[in-house]
């Protein structure tokens, strides 16, 4: 029986990626994709592939807003990280 890498304690509650995903829906987030472009928006939902749906999205590149999207879908393989812009 091999040990599961999923932390079973030690860390505070809500520590695992799964818990993070549950708690972050509905919050404002910054999603950075591989090439350094950021998407700031309200996180509508996401799935296990890190596919993301955002509302009221701003696309940021080199410190400037380069586009706005009412709704937008980001394919998960491009996602570098999802970071909360507010307390979760």
């Amino acid at each position: 029986m091999s040990a599961s890498p999923e932390p079973q304690g030690g860390g505070p509650p809500g520590g695992s990626p799964g818990d993070f995903l549950k708690n972050i829906v509905g919050k404002r987030v910054k999603v950075r994709i591989g090439n350094g472009i950021d998407y700031h928006g309200l996180l509508t939902c996401l799935d296990g592939y890190m596919n993301v749906a955002l509302e009221d999205t701003e696309e940021w590149s080199k410190g400037k807003v380069t586009a706005r999207y009412g709704d937008c879908f980001l394919r998960g393989n491009n996602v570098l990280y999802i970071s909360a812009l507010e307390e979760i």
Partner: protein, 131 residues
């Protein structure tokens, strides 16, 4: 019917002759979702792919790897984000470099296609087009 296949990694576009009708059952792995539009209209978004489902039949803007953007009417998608679009305009954003290494102003190459299949692994972003 002429199809274009975007191969995302090497940015090559391969033109294919394709006689299959879109609505023919069993023509490849794409799930065709033409008739789910009414269903989608009153469905809420519970997973990210629902957003794509809600955009079926509408004009969408798509960002692809390799500094490409595409806009067209979304006809079908699957879990890989393979897409079928019609009335497509593709834009390729190019920065030319002179012989001494100076970057020229951004150039945009545009072209139109009647019907297009986009391979899912090139997709970065999909957004219903506001206009």
């Amino acid at each position: 019917m002429v199809w274009s296949l975007i191969v995302s990694r090497n940015f090559a576009s391969v033109l294919l002759q394709q006689d299959n009708r879109l609505d023919q059952p069993g023509s490849g792995s794409l799930t065709y979702l033409y008739f789910e539009m009414e269903e989608a209209a009153n469905a809420s978004i519970s997973e990210p792919l629902d957003l794509v489902k809600l955009a079926l039949g509408e004009r969408v803007f798509i960002k692809l790897r390799g500094d490409r953007t595409v806009s067209g009417v979304l006809h079908a998608y699957d879990a890989h984000m393979n897409l079928v679009l019609s009335q497509v305009e593709e834009a390729v954003h190019i920065v030319d470099v002179t012989e001494d290494g100076q970057a020229m102003p951004l150039r945009v190459d545009r072209r139109q296609m009647e019907m297009l299949f986009v391979r899912g692994d090139g997709v970065i972003l999909i957004s219903p087009q506001q206009q």
